[in-house]
């Protein structure tokens, strides 16, 4: 009998030993203020069990005895990973301290936008601003380090990243991209961003190829109190001052106001002024614990002086900071190419967050003006100081023989007279007629956006998400006279063809008059999506589908002489119906290894700028215009070892049926004219690998490395057609019909101009317990290509316009010598960041500093071939000297720049 008891007691003990439940308790406290933190997520990595800390920072979890890694995280704080061994019945692990994530908070202040963005119709906007919200190591490097060189994640254009504010999409109809300047300077209130990379499922929107970011402006989600920050820099702006006040946390009503000012008389590039201010306000009324009404208003006004891409010849003579668009007037810098964006947004949201049902609805109204200034010249010499005829190369490339003495005179003259001579322009205008004037290309938009999305927990493993978005845009586009520069009137005729721009209006126009062109575009889109998400212990899966219906129409207000029949009135109404689907599978082998597979088939309508051939002139739509099709697959592998975390991704994406419209003057094999080049049936392939690894050497030191290996190429030969007006009676004009099909451009295999296709970074971060930190990254970027001219890769390139027969010298060997794509230079960049914070009398002071490109390396971020030399003979002739007159133009990256920020929070 005692044996039985002993055995059963033993067995009982054994049983308890194997499966003995334990309760783990703890308290999460902030490191500096020593205050308890609520809402901290405590996750047991091995079991994926999790809980949240209560208002006093406490948490409790029941686990089987054993060893676990606790992952403790809270937005704005450094995630802590703690190994615990549970033996006793109740384990009290005491207070756990979480540090403020000053690295990320401060990094949010970094500027990622640069000058190249300001150029028209240029695909040089990168997507780094989208990525600042992410914690992913690779994406952080892409934003803060590679961003200087216009690196694009997976080579995707910014239009493939969906930006939402409170669930409402912000991407523009014009080019599909988000306009970051619409909420620039409001970093404090735009800080709360949820980013999902790539084709992952997002709860409130179908999403897009690159990822989705939703900015939540609710005051209740951010720290209450006041924050004042002041910054100094030599990048795009010189100084910034920002103030934000969030009301103390109340049960019903919370509000936040924020305001900032950014300024510079000159940024890194000469003559680039910066004049911006922003104001933001949001009021949140919590009707109940689950219902919220949110009213937000954003006004970001941004005025900047622009620079231009430079040929190598100009770069060698005048340096990388050179900007041809400005000159002194009355002792002040005057930039002829200013850009001003002022498009305020008002937004009203209703949010419901129940246990099994969430609802996000909203309505936003945006209006305002986007104006781009230019210096026009009419029957007068080109005022651009680096116009090709004023450069030394013009005299060297002269068809009657190189003139070296004149080239030398021109060179010395250019070094003495580098900028626009404004007083000369006023002199030329002294007869009344404007030979020169400053005018704006204006876009005045009014857009209404409506959004509603819902999430339903159908069973405890199945969730349904669905939603609908409706957008309606009315866009007014016109040119407007800004400054007649001392003249009395402007003659509104096209000086190249001597034809009227507005037959029914006065020829003579004055300041603030609309001239040249005036048309409206109405665009609307209705998009619905539905998504199922399945959640199991080791795996998740989702499948989503989306339907969209998009419409575009142009309405011309001016009848011009060049297109008498199709410039005035409405165009045909374009309509695109598109279906998209995506799905994914997420499998966790255990807490340390996770694999994700994603696939998508998407159809997107062409953006407005690629739907009409020449909307300033006529109603013509791109022939056989179609939606583009995207086929994408991606595999992600996530690693989470105690000291080593990382991700490796492989992706392969194909774009088909892409359209592009370009404008330039060309001396082609079949004649010379200003043309609109329409490319259709373009196919592109983006494939590659992304790798990010972080190794925690000690609790203070982290070593990390990132690699992006990509290949972005044209995967077919697209169709090229050129359109031009036939009113110009020139001897070597192109044809009478106004439109020529040039066949296919032989560009299959040519690399896309989407930033460095390969990038590597190695970094070290040190976080000192005394609240200061430093980090450095060494970066290497390569395989970057400029934009190619497609017209020179058509058959017409071989034709001599004088004889209408192929050039005898145009052998394949000679042609490929001229047309082979050459990469831009590879380069190394060293970046440093660091900061320190103090807590004094409940006031929090932090300092952040960053130096980019410590060694002042000279590098190019992108560029484009000029299309002027459209035939073999002319291109060959121009290149003989080594300094062609129509060489490719490049943007140069910034040299050594700094950014310093001091912030007070209380």
């Amino acid at each position: 009998m005692p044996y039985l008891t002993a055995i059963s007691l033993f067995l009982f003990a054994l049983r308890l030993g194997f499966t003995q439940e334990t309760t783990i308790k703890g308290r999460i406290v902030s490191d500096r203020e020593k205050k308890p933190l609520v809402g901290v997520k405590i996750l047991v990595e091995e079991t994926l069990k999790h809980t949240n800390s209560t208002i006093d920072g406490r948490f409790t979890m029941n686990l089987v005895q054993g060893t676990y890694i606790l992952n403790i995280s809270l937005e704005g704080y450094v995630t802590k990973r703690l190994q615990v061994t549970l033996k006793n019945k109740v384990q009290e692990i005491g207070a756990l301290f979480l540090e403020r994530d000053i690295v990320r908070n401060q990094s949010n202040n970094l500027i990622a936008i640069s000058d190249a963005e300001l150029l028209e119709d240029e695909a040089s906007i990168n997507n780094s601003s989208l990525l600042q919200a992410s914690r992913d190591l690779f994406l952080n490097r892409a934003a803060f380090d590679f961003g200087q060189a216009f690196f694009r994640v997976r080579g995707y254009d910014a239009q493939y990243g969906k930006i939402l504010i409170n669930g409402l999409p912000m991407n523009k109809f014009h080019d599909g991209r988000p306009q970051w300047n619409n909420w620039g300077g409001l970093n404090d209130v735009m800080r709360n961003q949820k980013f999902s990379l790539g084709l992952q499922a997002t709860a409130i929107n179908f999403g897009d190829l690159l990822g989705t970011s939703n900015i939540d402006t609710r005051p209740s989600k951010s720290r209450s109190g006041t924050r004042i920050s002041s910054s100094m820099s030599n990048r795009t702006y010189a100084g910034r001052f920002m103030v934000t006040y969030t009301s103390p946390r109340k049960k019903n009503m919370n509000y936040v106001v924020s305001s900032s000012r950014r300024w510079a008389s000159q940024g890194y590039n000469d003559g680039t002024l910066y004049d911006a201010f922003s104001v933001f306000g949001a009021i949140e009324y919590q009707m109940s614990s689950r219902s919220t009404v949110l009213l937000s208003a954003i006004l970001a006004s941004n005025r900047r002086g622009r620079s231009s891409a430079l040929t190598e010849e100009v770069f060698e003579l005048l340096g990388r900071r050179f900007n041809p668009n400005w000159g002194m007037q009355n002792g002040k810098i005057r930039n002829s190419k200013e850009r001003k964006i002022q498009e305020p947004i008002v937004m009203l949201n209703y949010l419901f967050e129940g246990k099994k049902f969430q609802l996000n609805t909203g309505i936003a109204y945006q209006f305002g003006k986007h104006a781009r200034g230019r210096l026009g010249y009419y029957n007068a010499p080109n005022p651009d100081p680096i116009y090709y005829r004023y450069l030394p190369s013009f005299y060297i490339n002269s068809s009657i023989g190189a003139n070296f003495r004149n080239a030398e005179i021109a060179r010395e003259g250019l070094l003495q007279n580098q900028q626009i001579d404004w007083s000369q322009l006023y002199t030329a205008n002294s007869n009344g007629r404007a030979a020169y004037m400053v005018y704006d290309d204006v876009i005045k938009d009014e857009q209404l956006t409506l959004n509603g999305s819902a999430n339903v927990q159908i069973t405890d493993f199945l969730k349904l998400d669905f939603g609908v978005v409706y957008q309606k845009l009315n866009s007014k586009n016109f040119a407007q006279i800004n400054d007649l520069l001392g003249a009395d009137f402007h003659e509104d005729i096209d000086t190249f063809s001597n034809t009227k721009n507005d037959i029914s209006g006065n020829i003579n126009r004055e300041t603030n008059d609309i001239f040249n062109y005036y048309y409206d575009i109405t665009a609307s889109q209705l998009q619905t999506f539905a998504q199922f998400r399945i959640k199991q212990k080791k795996w998740n899966a989702f499948i989503s589908g989306s339907l969209s219906n998009t419409g575009y129409q142009r309405n011309g207000h001016f009848q011009n002489e060049r297109y008498l029949n199709n410039s005035l009135g409405p165009s045909e109404s374009l309509n695109f119906k598109d279906v998209s689907a995506k799905m994914g599978l997420d499998y966790s082998f255990n807490s340390r290894h996770n694999l994700q597979l994603h696939g998508a088939l998407m159809r997107k309508p062409p953006t407005l700028q690629n739907a009409f051939v020449n909307p300033r002139e006529n109603n013509q739509v791109v022939p056989q215009v179609e939606s583009e099709r995207v086929e994408a697959v991606a595999v992600n592998y996530n690693l989470r070892l105690p000291k080593l975390t990382g991700r490796i991704t492989g992706y392969h994406t194909q774009f088909k049926g892409v359209t592009d419209v370009n404008f330039f003057f060309v001396d082609s094999g079949i004649g010379s004219d200003f043309v609109q080049e329409v490319l259709t049936d373009i196919k592109k392939t983006h494939s590659g690998i992304e790798l990010g690894l972080a190794y925690q050497i000690s609790s203070a030191v982290q070593l990390n490395g990132v690699a992006a290996l990509g290949k972005f190429v044209y995967s077919n030969n697209p169709s090229v057609a050129i359109n031009f007006d036939t009113s110009t009676v020139t001897e070597n004009g192109i044809s009478d019909t106004g439109n020529v099909d040039l066949g296919r451009a032989s560009i299959k295999g040519y690399k896309l101009a989407q930033g460095p296709q390969q990038a590597f970074a190695l970094g070290i971060n040190y976080r000192d317990p005394k609240y200061w930190w430093v980090g450095t990254t060494a970066n290497y970027m390569t395989s970057n290509y400029g934009n190619i001219s497609t017209i020179t890769r058509t058959e017409s390139f071989y034709i001599d316009p004088e004889t209408n027969a192929p050039f005898p010298d145009a052998t394949d060997e000679n042609v490929s010598k001229l047309l082979t794509q050459k990469p831009l230079d590879s380069f190394y960049l060293l970046n440093l960041v660091g900061g320190k914070s103090w807590l004094k009398n409940g006031k929090y002071i932090s300092v952040f500093a960053s130096i980019n490109n410590v060694f002042d390396a000279v590098f190019r971020t992108g560029g484009y071939e000029q299309s002027r030399n459209g035939n073999f003979g002319q291109l060959q002739q121009d290149n003989l000297s080594g300094t062609p007159s129509f060489a490719p133009k490049y943007w140069y990256g910034y040299g050594r720049t700094y950014f310093l920020n001091v912030a007070f929070s209380f």
């Binding site: 006041t226 004042i228 010189a238 100084g239 001052f241 103030v243 006040y245 305001s259 000012r261 950014r262 300024w263 510079a264 008389s265 002024l273 910066y274 004049d275 201010f277 005025r303 007037q329 009355n330 002040k332 810098i333 005057r334 200013e338 029957n379 007068a380 010499p381 100081p385 005829r389 004023y390 005299y395 002269s398 009657i400 023989g401 003139n403 070296f404 003495r405 004149n406 005179i409 021109a410 010395e412 003259g413 250019l414 003495q416 007279n417 001579d421 404004w422 007083s423 000369q424 006023y426 002199t427 030329a428 007869n431 030979a435 800004n482 400054d483 520069l485 001392g486 001897e731």
Partner: protein, 268 residues
Amino acid sequence: MKWLSIVLCFSLMFGCVKDRNFEAPESDSCVDLVANTTYLEVKNLFQESTIQIQDDLIIEGFVNSSDEMGNFFSVLHFQDRAENPTEGFQIEIDLRDSHLFYPSGSKIFIKLKGLYLGKSKDVFKLGATFPSFGNLFIGRLPKTVIADHIIVACDNPVSIMPQKTTITALEKRLTNTLISLEDVEIIEKELGLLFAEVREETERTLVDCDGNEIVLLNSGFSDFQVTPLPSGNGTITGVLLRERENFQLVIRDLQDILLLETRCSGID
């Protein structure tokens, strides 16, 4: 207290950036220099071939040509006085629409140091150079240095009085000055033709009632190229050019040519 500090911070939003409104330039880009030499002295510097002027010489003149109608191109012709000039001169420049900056009648100063002086078909020219068969000829001055060499005086433009003369009285000294010829007409066999052939420099012939002829030179790129030649008799004003022994008259615009009277032969 909190509100006060916030308001204070807002009002401290300093950082002024110049707005977009600019007043017209305060000082005109005119300068008043002093000429220190004459055209003849400059022309005497020429030896056998094109030379570069090394001394700080400054000449002044009155522009008498104009490219507004396209009959002149990439050149400025000027004379030493607005009335009764003693000498004329010309400078080749790589500048189109020069009438906007150096209109006919404006007074200019030319800083000669660094410019080249040459002679082509017995006429002196200033400018830069272009090489041909191992020799240096006068070429167009690159645009970037034109404003450094040719400076507009602060005087208002004046009306240049053309010198009244006759075809037989023409002399080399009058080259590059503004003259007017009375009682001339287009020769009969050219009546009905256009001022110039498209894109080609065209010579037409003017004749006085004594049968003396002079070439009227018109550009095929001028605005009045398609206009038919006037058939009457009258006064023509123009810049007198020369190629060796042959004189040519070049008008600035159609106001220079007033042939409304009866022809020498009595026909209108």
